[in-house]
Assembly symmetry: C2
Homo-oligomer: 152 residues x 2
């Protein structure tokens, strides 16, 4: 009986987990996380262009808000089993260490989320100098993870 209950619980847990991941295939997880990074990179590029050229506070705020929203959306769920290596033509640059060093990955992810949230907050003030700093801080948290867990 206990075994049956344990099995039922396991089934529920797996179902719950599957629901949370919307029954995504590993390919979809890789594509979706890459989509998130690509979209953030576009918006980081826009902020950079604004800092280096004419500063449009509204565009910077919109870009920073998009980055913070994506960063805070729970992308960790997109690193499920089967996503640690290429799938056919779909390449991933994540290093195996990423999946073996979860506490450190979690720390880097938290740093990034906090920096992105701060960038969005600062961008809303329209203070270009403050954005310059918050932008550099965010870039550093991107780089910290890329340096350690992304293949060249």
């Amino acid at each position: 009986m206990q075994k049956k209950i344990a099995l039922a619980c396991l089934t529920l847990a797996v179902t719950g987990s599957a629901l949370a991941q919307q029954l995504m295939r590993p390919e979809e997880m890789i594509q979706t996380r890459q989509a998130g990074y690509r979209f953030m990179a576009w918006n980081m590029g826009k902020i950079k262009a604004n800092l280096e050229g004419e500063y449009n506070a509204q565009q910077v705020q919109a870009a920073a808000t998009a980055i913070a929203g994506i960063a805070g959306s729970g992308m960790g769920a997109l690193y499920g089993p089967g996503t640690e290596k290429d799938i056919g033509n779909l390449k991933t640059r994540v290093k195996p260490e990423f999946f073996q060093e979860m506490p450190n990955v979690g720390k880097l992810a938290t740093d990034f989320n906090n920096a992105a949230a701060n960038l969005a907050k600062v961008a809303a003030t329209g203070d270009k100098a403050a954005v310059q700093k918050a932008f550099a801080d965010t870039g550093s948290t991107c780089k910290a993870c890329h340096d350690k867990y992304r293949m060249e």
Copy 2:
């Protein structure tokens, strides 16, 4: 002299526009807009799963915030010249009418932005019934554009 000034102004204007688009190639614009839609679809799916199953207000809020951030990031800039058709293996499902009916496209985009912003606002309250309605409203604004301007 006037001609020279006009030419200088034109050069500046083109440079400014190029900066705003970060000198993106049409391929990059298509890939980036598709990345935005893919990431939004993932988050819409999470909200749907929460509405149909166990409701996690924090996950719904995070998902809605990501959608609103992406929706408000100025994706119109990703429909530049050369992005109206497939480029090699890179397929786009946008219909030619999209580029010929900009006032209507602008209206649909505004409807979508407003609905997504409202969804994020409502999600922050944790009121499941209100999220259900705001989610359906957002889905309708997605569909309005897909029905008219997206190929099957």
